[in-house]
Symmetry: C2
Subunit: 228 residues, 2 copies
């Protein structure tokens, strides 16, 4: 599903260059559940943003489901993102003056789902993450972990081919984390969703079947893990 | 140092009332290192915001270092916050279009520290959290964990009496987390800073000498932990 070759990403900050990715080559098959780990600043989010077609690499190639992403126009990239990828951002990225329900409906709005189906599917996604009773609340009226769960519901609602979750349990207590991870595991096993999950917690990585370790912009380890 | 009695906090959202705290009574001595844990939405941040004088309770009493906070004016509360309390927010709360250094200088600006001392102390705080070389970068140019560390440096720079850290390691890998926790432990043991730390990770809570457990707006457990 995902093939990257010699991916590089350099951020240009005035006179300084920050090499965030220094040549990443790997393949991820459909329906894998992969944990991405590594120190703060090692390039995990940069990698996820490129795989999620939210950012372009400085060099290197990326094929998503056989399509060379570099050859896609902005509109085609947006279509890929809306139809095939769900993204849980490290900082949630919720719209502040919008209800939890409207935030979760957003991906369905983009791909033209009719209003009634949009509303009921978004509510179902909020129920799955345990926030069905907070649908009318704005992000500022929710706790950190509740906001994170709204972001997870938004990523799930479109039943994407590929779900990219950047530290999805950073603000969740262990029990809520387990509930969310079981949701991701169920999507992976019963709906065939490919999951890439950035985490710094070994208990969370234990749900994955493979662990990719970043350090200083490179992959330093990539090994299968005992199936959960 | 901290005495709270029958603290309550109700958020009024339109016609709905959300009781975030339903009567919390406890005492925290100076120089304790306390972990605050509990499920998502159980009231931890609400409690921290009241203890940090960022929000007022709906009912109940709060004495900080013998002073009844309810009797303080807005300016007096701001003075208490600026001189005696350092706060690491769950969502970092950094100023986006400002450098990391200027973000860390902010508490020193509020209490009138002269410019040269302000700059050198802020740089020293960034060095302590491992970001001395990113002083000129804006938050949008930093990774999630790097932003979190800037927020920690800002909370430390004033050598507060009381340091309140809400999920300070949520975005940090284990090694960086240990570095930060050792900084907090050093401040607690050698500088006499009282530390309250919200976390959902038992490894992080293990650095504390006491564990307060929230559930549904109440304290359901409050016990000493083997000294780290
Ligand atoms: N500004 C607000 N307006 C309305 N309700 C709020 C507000 N802030 C928090 N709440 C609600 O109060 C309750 C407690 O929230 P709080 O942020 O204290 O929880 P928490 O324990 O910090 O959770 P988390 O671990 O998810 O950060 C939650 O149900 C939340 O939705
Ligand atoms: N928009 C940006 N502009 C400039 N530099 C950036 C930008 N985003 C990230 N960086 C830098 O690129 C490097 C990799 O960042 P990235 O966000 O990918 O790390 P990460 O592994 O996700 O870290 P964390 O675990 O702290 O979230 C870091 O040194 C960071 O400072
Ligand atoms: Mg990141
Ligand atoms: Mg909170």
């Amino acid at each position: 599903l995902i093939v990257v070759e010699a991916l590089q990403k350099v951020y240009h900050l005035g006179e300084v260059d920050v090499p965030a990715l220094r040549g990443v080559t790997l393949t991820i098959q459909a329906v894998e559940f992969v944990a991405v780990m590594g120190p703060s600043g090692s390039g995990k989010s940069t990698f996820m943003n490129i795989v999620g077609c939210l950012d372009r690499p400085t060099a290197g190639r990326y094929w998503l489901d056989g399509v060379d992403v570099a050859g896609l126009s902005r509109n085609e990239l947006a279509a890929v993102r809306n139809h095939r990828i769900g993204f849980v951002f490290q900082n949630f990225n919720l719209r502040p003056r919008t209800t939890a329900l409207e935030n979760v409906e957003l991906p369905l709005l983009y791909n033209g789902t009719p209003p009634r189906a949009r509303r009921s599917r978004a509510l179902a996604a909020l129920e799955i993450v345990g926030l069905g009773d907070r649908a009318a609340h704005h992000p500022s009226q929710l706790s950190g972990g509740q906001q994170q769960r709204v972001a997870i519901a938004r990523a799930l609602v479109n039943e994407p081919l590929l779900l990219l979750a950047d530290e999805p349990t950073g603000n969740l207590d262990s029990r809520t984390s387990v509930e969310i991870l079981e949701v991701l595991q169920r999507l992976n096993r019963t709906r065939g969703v490919t999951v890439l999950l950035v985490t710094h917690e070994p208990d969370v990585a234990a749900y994955a079947g493979r662990n990719i370790q970043f350090r200083d912009g490179r992959v330093v380890r990539d090994e299968p893990m005992a199936a959960p």
